[in-house]
Amino acid sequence: MLAYLIRRLFNAVLTLLVVTAVTFGIFFLVPKATGTDPALLYIGKTSDAASVEGIRVKMGLNDPIVVQYGKFLKGLVAGRDYANGPDVQHCPAPCLGYSFKTDQEVTPLLLGDLPVTLSLALGAAVLWLIMGISTGVISALRRGTVLDRVVMGGALAGVSLPIYFTGLLASAIFVYWLGWLPQGEYVPFTESPGDWFVQLILPWITLAFLFAATYARLTRANMLEILGEDYVRTARAKGLRERAVIGKHALRSSLTPIVTVFGLDLGALLGGAILTEKVFNLRGLGYQALTAIQGNDLPIILGVTLIAASFIVIANLIVDLVYGLIDPRVRLA
């Protein structure tokens, strides 16, 4: 078990290393391809040649790509100093460099956005699990009935409708038309849990609707398959109440594959829910990434990519470990 864990952790680190290499490569190549000088992006096009060269030296832009990548990695692990003669700027680990636009350190900037994304993703996850699994189970048990068709039709709509449609529609109805929810923006939980909750209700529901639809379909399909299993018949043959047959024996197996999907979905979402954040003006990682892409702010794009990749790799690892706990047939070795 310990050996397995160590091997998996090693693999995770290796995966992340590959991600950094690839993203860094793109980071290096994009300015070349577009013919822009990263140094100019830092200080603006009006600057004189001497100060542009100063930035090049300070940021190490004159070094070969391998050296630049090495310095980037060192910055991630141990922090790095950007120096041009006596002008030294220290960037503590994990250093992701400085924004082209605002010259802010990327790491604290992104860490500041993280709570928004975390709040959005975790809240929505709770909602979609409850919505998706319960409707999926009901649908499976009432297979072929009107209820089943309505629920599955709704799920199809949920999967097909994009966030920028459902999100704007929900805002229009609940904020502007009915006036049930206040207009406003994200409030940190630490400031006011009530406002935090109220401001996030719509984004949660909108995002959860999209995912719940997938989960409902998945749960329904699993449930229908499991209900035909011999061990469900055995549970009935023992004289168990139908509630126990469904709620314990059948559901337990139906949910196992959902753990995998859920882990990966959540991991992906923690890297930023670009559309939802944009539609509801939530300044999280996704919003940050979008702004950075629009502004060609490569250090921020690189930072968000790395964080998103880390979440996915970590989620993968956790899913595999958890799977060993919930399915005794899986031996971790």
Partner: protein
């Protein structure tokens, strides 16, 4: 057959049982007018090929078709003087796993993969003993595991089904079925999924436990050897109908139905010369949606032309006193064919 000195009902009595399923392809008439009974302490063997209605019959006794909305069960099923077809779902549920229990064919798929074997036995016990605490139920489960011959039952209690060997798994399944001292035990091909060496052990176990508990046992199988070894009475099913029934010894020594002859002829035997081939019943089982008219076996019956002037378009009735058969062939012709053509090749 029991000596009928009293008029008391047998422990299980099934009368005119019909089971049909409505499917998109049509109505599947899985069991037609099936009538049989089992006394306490006796064993009834039900034989027939796949799709003959053996398993559907036993699931009907347990009321397990009730959760299938397309299934329709009619007739009478009396268990210990209680009628089950008209009983409520809750009444049948309380009997299931209590007075009547079932052992399934493939113990690996019949046990839940995510719960320990012990906890599944505890669960079976506690459904029917709601007041019993976990510790007592656990002791009971371990005791049952020990009684079915599982070594180190305390340790095995916490294992999962996939950690058991095939034979041990079926033993555990039997422990689970017997945990509430059922008076009727239905074993649906309990040895089919097992190694030959283990099969005999499991059959011995079932017989020993039957002696110990005095239960009525229904042994569903396509293996006539199993029936010969265990059963007091035999029921031969074909196309959802009972086509021959009687005391096991009588049916084996003097089989009446050509299908039963076919089953006997397709049994491999060690004392037969290797160059002799098996004599399988030719053709394939009938479609239960579209049963052949009259005698369902007549398209496959090698002796169908020898029924005198009787028509195969009529359904043959089960006739006879103790040993009953549903066949259009005249009894004299049957005896002659069996003695002269069938027996020498068995």
């Amino acid at each position: 057959m029991s000596i009928g000195a009293t008029n008391a009902r047998p422990y299980l009595e099934v009368k005119d049982l019909n089971v049909r399923f409505e499917t998109d392809d049509g109505i599947v008439q899985a069991v037609t007018d099936s009538t049989f009974s089992v006394e306490a302490g006796q064993t009834l063997g039900i034989v027939g090929e796949s799709g003959s209605g053996k398993s559907v019959t036993s699931l009907a006794v347990l009321g397990l078709h009730r959760t299938r909305s397309n299934a329709k069960v009619s007739g009478e099923i009396w268990l210990d003087d209680q009628e089950l077809v008209t009983a409520t779902d809750e009444q049948v549920r309380l009997l299931r796993g209590g007075k009547m229990a079932m052992i399934f064919q493939d113990p690996l798929s019949a046990m839940h993969p995510y719960f320990t074997v012990g906890s599944q036995i505890v669960e079976a016990y506690r459904v029917h003993h709601p007041g019993v605490n976990k510790k007592v139920a656990r002791e009971r489960a371990i005791d049952m595991l020990a009684r079915v011959g599982i070594p180190q039952p305390e340790r095995r209690f916490n294992d999962y089904a996939h950690q058991f060997s095939g034979g041990m798994r079926q033993r555990a399944m039997i422990a689970m079925a017997l945990v509430n001292d059922p008076k009727l035990l239905i074993a649906d091909e309990p040895t089919t999924a097992l190694d030959v060496t283990v099969q005999a052990q499991i059959l011995d176990l079932i017989r020993d436990l039957q002696d110990e508990f005095g239960s009525a046992v229904i042994m569903i199988t396509h293996d006539l050897g199993v029936v010969a070894e265990l059963a007091d009475d035999v029921l031969v099913m074909y196309g959802g109908k009972v086509i021959e029934k009687g005391p096991a010894l009588e049916v084996f020594q003097n089989p009446q139905h050509p299908y039963t002859w076919g089953l006997l002829g397709s049994m491999p035997r060690l004392d037969r010369e290797v160059r002799d081939r098996l004599n399988p019943v030719k053709g394939s089982p009938p479609s239960l949606i579209n049963l052949p008219s009259g005698c369902a076996f007549h398209p496959r019956c090698p002796y169908a032309g020898r029924n005198g002037n009787r028509s195969f378009n009529e359904v043959p009735l089960l006739h006879g006193d103790v040993h009953k058969v549903a066949c259009h062939l005249p009894p004299e012709a049957r005896t002659e064919i069996f003695q002269q053509e069938v027996l020498p090749n068995l």
